[in-house]
C-alpha cells in the first residue's frame, strides 16, 4: 500500500486520506498505541534494545522492583506446560537504588513511556519505593505488583483481599503524584471486589491478570519441576481466564483497565480490547519472539485497515452482547 508508513506509531496513513489512530487514552497518559510490554518479560528494557525500537511501544514495564536487591528463587525456575509457562523467578532484581543509578539514566533516552513495576515485602515498602522514585525524572507511571504469586508468602499477597489491596494502594497513592496502575492477581474468588478496592483507594488504572498459581511434577524423579515448588502460569493457556476477568472488571470499574494474559497475536490483543481493556500488556510472547510487541501492533493495525476502523478506541468495549 503506497504511502503507508510501516512504523507502528501513533497514526497510520491509509492510501491517501484515511488515517488509523492507534493511540489510546488512559486518562492520565496517552499511549501511541495500546501495546505495553509486561513486567518480568522485558528485563529492564535495555536487554530488548538489540531486537526492537523501544519507542514503537505504547509503553514498557520493567522487572518488578523491590527496595533491596533480591536474589530470587533457586533454579529450576521455569517449566513448560501445555500452551503455558510456569515461572518462579522470585523477583530477582537489583533493588531500587542501583536501578536508579545504573538503569534509569539509560532508559531516559527512550521516548516510550516507562512504567515501574513496584513490589513490596511489606505494605509500607510500596509507599517507600514510590516516594523515592518521585524524585526521579522519566517515569510515566507506577504499576503496583500486589499480586506476585512467586514470593513465598503462602499466597498471602495483598492482591488476595480487597482490604489489603486498599491498604497498599492507599499507601502508594499518598506518596505519589504520578499515575498508579494496580495489577491484580487472578487467584481470587471475586476479582471485581479487588478491582473496586483499588479504585476506591485511588488507583488510576487496573491491570490484570498476573500469573496463576500452578505447579508441575516430574514423574521420573518424583520431584517438583520448580525448585520453589509453586510458580505462576502464563501464556496462551490462561488467555480464556484472563479475558473473562478483564470483561468482569471492565464492566464495573470507572478507571481504565489494561488487559493481560496469553496475548500472542494482534487478534488476542483485540479480544481484550473488545471486552473493555483500553490497552494490553504482552508478557510471555516477548520471550518467544522479542519482536512480538511490534508485530502485535502491526496486526492490530491491519485488522483496523481491513475493516475500515479509524480509531482503535472504537474497538474498546465494543463486544456485541445482544441476545446474551
Amino acid at each position: 500500500m503506497p504511502g503507508r508508513s510501516s512504523f507502528p506509531g501513533r497514526s497510520h496513513r491509509l492510501g491517501d486520506e484515511k488515517v488509523i489512530d492507534l493511540s489510546c487514552d488512559l486518562g492520565f497518559l496517552r499511549l501511541r498505541n495500546p501495546v505495553i510490554a509486561a513486567s518480568g518479560t522485558f528485563g529492564y528494557g535495555l536487554e530488548m534494545a538489540p531486537f526492537l525500537d523501544l519507542n514503537c511501544l505504547g509503553a514498557y514495564i520493567v522487572k518488578g522492583l523491590y527496595l533491596q536487591p533480591r536474589t530470587g528463587n533457586p533454579p529450576p525456575r521455569l517449566v513448560e506446560t501445555a500452551s503455558g509457562l510456569i515461572n518462579s523467578i522470585g523477583l530477582q532484581g537489583i533493588g531500587l537504588e542501583p536501578f536508579i543509578e545504573t538503569i534509569l539514566p539509560k532508559l531516559r533516552k527512550y521516548s516510550a513511556p516507562l512504567i515501574i513495576n513496584v513490589c513490596g515485602e511489606s505494605d509500607e515498602e510500596y509507599g517507600a519505593i514510590v516516594e523515592r522514585l518521585e524524585k526521579e525524572q522519566g517515569i510515566a507511571a507506577y504499576e503496583l505488583n500486589i499480586s506476585c504469586p512467586n514470593v513465598k508468602r503462602n499466597g498471602l499477597c495483598p492482591a488476595l483481599s480487597p482490604e489489603a489491596t486498599y491498604t497498599v494502594v492507599k499507601l502508594a497513592r499518598e506518596k505519589s503524584r504520578r499515575p498508579i496502575i494496580t495489577k491484580l492477581s487472578p487467584n481470587v474468588t471475586d476479582i471485581v471486589s479487588i478491582a473496586l478496592a483499588a479504585q476506591e483507594a485511588g488507583s488510576d488504572a487496573i491491570s490484570l491478570i498476573n500469573t496463576i498459581l500452578a505447579m508441575a511434577v516430574d514423574v521420573e524423579t518424583r520431584s517438583p519441576l520448580l525448585a520453589n515448588l509453586f510458580g505462576g502460569l502464563s501464556g496462551p493457556a490462561i488467555k480464556p481466564i484472563a479475558l473473562r476477568m478483564v470483561f468482569q472488571v471492565a464492566r464495573v470499574v470507572k478507571i481504565p483497565v489494561i488487559g493481560c494474559g496469553g496475548i500472542m497475536t494482534g487478534q488476542d490483543a483485540l479480544e481484550f480490547l473488545l471486552v473493555g481493556a483500553r490497552a494490553v500488556e504482552v508478557g510471555t510472547a516477548n520471550l518467544i519472539d522479542p519482536q512480538a510487541c511490534p508485530r502485535i501492533i502491526k496486526e492490530i493495525e491491519q485488522y483496523c485497515l481491513n475493516r475500515g476502523i479509524k480509531k482503535i478506541e472504537d474497538i474498546v468495549g465494543s463486544i456485541i452482547l445482544e441476545g446474551i
Binding site: 518480568g40 518479560t41 522485558f42 528485563g43 536487554e47 530488548m48 538489540p50 531486537f51 522487572k63 536474589t71 530470587g72 533457586p74 533454579p75 529450576p76 525456575r77 521455569l78 517449566v79 513448560e80 501445555a82 500452551s83 503455558g84 509457562l85 515461572n87 523467578i89 530477582q92 525448585a227 501464556g235 496462551p236 500472542m264 510471555t284 516477548n286 520471550l287 518467544i288 519472539d289 522479542p290 519482536q291
Partner: protein
C-alpha cells in the same frame, strides 16, 4: 548483537540414530558467531512446544551455521523431523563463548566432551586450528552410538581420545577417568568442557587439583535466551558474592572456578 533470521533454510540434515546435525543458511548469524555461543530456535508456529530451544553453534562457515543435537524430548523430536528445504526461525548468536588464546600456546588445549557435549567443539576446534593452537579432543559416551562424530573429527585431522562406559570403543570408563589418567603426560594449556552436570563437577575437581584453567559451557532451561526472563540462572561467584547469574547473557561459558557448585541442588 544478535540477529533474528525468520526464514533460515535447512540445507542438510544428517542423522545418526538419536543424534542429528542440521546445516542451516543463516548469514547474519554466521557472520557474527564465535565458538561457544548459541542460538534459540523456534521449533514450529504452534504452542507445542511454546518456547524456543537453545543449541550451541556446532559449526560456522561462510553463510552457514550448523547445530548438532540429541533427541531428548518433544522439541528435539520435532526438530529431528525437519527436512532439507524446511525453514527455521532462529535468534543468534547469543551469549558469550569460549575465550581463545591470544597467541598459540605450545601446550595443547584439551576439549572435553560428554555425549552431545561435543556440540560446541567442532566450531571451537576449527577456530583453534586456524589460530595455530594445538588441541586434543576428549570425547566420551555411554556406548559407541553416543560418539557419532568420531569419523568426521578424524577426517578433519583432529586428535581424539575416546571413551565408552561399556568399553566397546576406546577407554572403558568415564571420559573424566581417561582425562585424569592422561593429564600427567599432557601438560595442557587449558580445558574446554561441555557435558552433563556430573561430568562438569568431576572436571571441576580435576582442574582444581591440577590447577588448570578450565572453561565450562553450562546448560539450563531457557525462557528467552537473551536476558529478559531470569529463568536460566546458575550460582556464579562475582567477587565475594555468589549471584544467580543469567547464563544466556553472561554465559553460557564460565571459568570453572566461577561456578558455586555448593549452591546447586
Amino acid at each position: 548483537m544478535a540477529s533474528i533470521e525468520r526464514q533460515a533454510k535447512i540445507l542438510q540434515h544428517k542423522s545418526w540414530g538419536n543424534y542429528h546435525r542440521l546445516k542451516i543458511l543463516a548469514p547474519e548469524i554466521a557472520e557474527k558467531a564465535t565458538p561457544g555461543q548459541f542460538v534459540m530456535i523456534r521449533i514450529n508456529e504452534t504452542f507445542f512446544p511454546l518456547l524456543r530451544r537453545p543449541f550451541c553453534l556446532h559449526h560456522c562457515h561462510g553463510d552457514e551455521i550448523e547445530i548438532f543435537f540429541k533427541v531428548v524430548g518433544q522439541g528435539t523430536a520435532q526438530l529431528a523431523e525437519k527436512k532439507e528445504g524446511d525453514f527455521l526461525d532462529i535468534i543468534g548468536p547469543l551469549g558469550r563463548g569460549f575465550s581463545l588464546p591470544e597467541k598459540p600456546d605450545k601446550r595443547p588445549a584439551l576439549l572435553v566432551a560428554g555425549g552431545r557435549g561435543i556440540a560446541p567443539f567442532v566450531f571451537l576446534a576449527h577456530e583453534l586450528k586456524r589460530l595455530g593452537q594445538s588441541m586434543i579432543i576428549f570425547y566420551g559416551g555411554k556406548t559407541r552410538e553416543d560418539l557419532p562424530l568420531i569419523e568426521d573429527l578424524e577426517k578433519n585431522g583432529f586428535n581424539l581420545r575416546l571413551s565408552t562406559e561399556d568399553g566397546c570403543l576406546g577407554f572403558k570408563g568415564l571420559i573424566t577417568e581417561l582425562l585424569e589418567k592422561e593429564l600427567p603426560s599432557l601438560n595442557p594449556a587449558c580445558l574446554y568442557v561441555c557435558g552433563p552436570e556430573a561430568m562438569l563437577v568431576e572436571v571441576a575437581r580435576i582442574s582444581r587439583t591440577w590447577r588448570l584453567k578450565a572453561e565450562f559451557s553450562l546448560e539450563a532451561r531457557m525462557g528467552c535466551g537473551f536476558g529478559v526472563c531470569y529463568g536460566c540462572v546458575w550460582p556464579i561467584r562475582q567477587g565475594e558474592k555468589i549471584e544467580w547469574t543469567r547464563i544466556c547473557l553472561e554465559g553460557p561459558v564460565f571459568p570453572a572456578e566461577a561456578i558455586a557448585w555448593e549452591m546447586k541442588r
